[in-house]
């Protein structure tokens, strides 16, 4: 949890996920709002299906007011980072402060 002026105490992580039954592909979107703390996050698939993480894209920085410009177009870019392995329906990823991370997932096998 982190303290905010306007909303009081809020969770540091904001998470949403989608799943496409037809292609068996999923996506997990995670914002780490903390300006100072990395958060070691366990992702747990509860429905027992075997899953792999195909790709992880991450946008992160140290300054909430950071922006790109014509002169400096690459201050903030999404970077592919190493996809954690899923072991027994569970994967662990460290989310840096002020980051937005997308994990592309896929159900494998039956």
């Amino acid at each position: 949890m982190i303290e905010t002026q306007k909303y009081g105490e809020v969770p540091a992580l904001d998470v949403s996920a989608s799943y496409d039954e037809a292609t068996q592909q999923g996506a997990i979107f995670v914002v780490n709002r903390s300006q100072t703390e990395s958060i070691v996050t366990d992702i747990v698939w509860q429905d027992g299906k075997a899953v792999q993480i195909d790709q992880v894209l991450q946008l992160a920085g140290s300054d909430p007011k950071e922006f790109n410009s014509w002169d400096a177009p690459n201050r903030l870019v999404a970077k592919a980072i190493a996809a954690p392995t899923v072991d027994n329906g569970r994967a662990t990823i460290s989310l840096p402060p002020l980051s937005f991370t997308v994990l592309a997932t896929r159900t494998v096998g039956g």
Binding site: A12, L13, V15, A17, S18, Y19, E21, G26, I28, V30, S34, E37, S38, I39, V40, T41, D42, I43, V44, W45, Q46, D47, K49
Partner: protein
């Protein structure tokens, strides 16, 4: 330093709701360089035979838009769709009051349909509820969607589009709750104009439709 930890629990058997593909739509407005000198630029070496820039179309196709809204935006509240159909040489140059530019009307409803087909997106048309009225909106629906054999659908056919456009998505006015749209800005500086008048007029028009 202590490690901050969190847990995310996922379960495909417990979902909130389906995600409509229509959420992944876009918006085209006659504003700045969106249309002219944007994706529509017949002078460009990248233009196809319809004047659409092939490089921009390719980039837009990559985005896989489900639906695109047109023609505005604030611009819609002063737009007469009839200015933008028919032979291009006869289309009027109009003062465009929302963004205070000159609208050449070289790109209009039928060109928008070609644009949507090119990027494989469904069209969504807005009807003018600012300076327009219910009749002009109904005429546009008939122009776009009726099979030939009526006044407005025959006009479409005479413009080279015999088959109906089959527009499924319609947008009644633009931001009708807001005092900033076109009607409210005619005569900039009229700050004493009561926004409530425009708000209630807009709401009444929406109810009528």
């Amino acid at each position: 330093m202590s490690t901050v930890q969190a847990q995310v629990l996922l379960d495909t058997n417990r979902t909130i709701a389906p995600i409509s593909p229509l959420l992944f739509g876009g918006f085209v407005e006659h504003m700045g360089r969106c249309v002219y000198e944007g994706f529509y630029d017949p002078q460009s070496s990248h233009a196809d035979e319809q004047g659409l820039r092939k490089d921009v179309l390719a980039a837009l196709r990559d985005q896989t838009y489900s639906v695109i809204r047109y023609p505005g935006g604030n611009m819609l509240s002063g737009y007469n769709w009839l200015d933008g159909v028919g032979p291009k040489a006869q289309r009027p140059r109009r003062r465009e009051l929302a963004w205070q530019s000159v609208e050449t009307n070289q790109f209009g409803t039928n060109e928008f349909m070609q644009f949507c087909a090119a990027i494989e997106a469904a069209p969504m048309l807005g009807v003018n509820m600012g300076t327009g009225d219910i009749q002009s909106a109904a005429n546009l629906v008939e122009y776009c969607n009726a099979p030939v054999g009526t006044y407005w659908s025959d006009l479409r056919a005479s413009h080279g589009f015999r088959a109906p456009h089959d527009v499924r998505y319609w947008c009644v006015g633009n931001e009708m709750d807001g005092p900033w749209h076109c009607l409210g800005r005619v005569g900039e500086g009229a700050h004493d104009r009561d926004p409530e008048i425009w708000r209630s007029a807009g709401a009444r028009r929406v109810r009528q439709l």
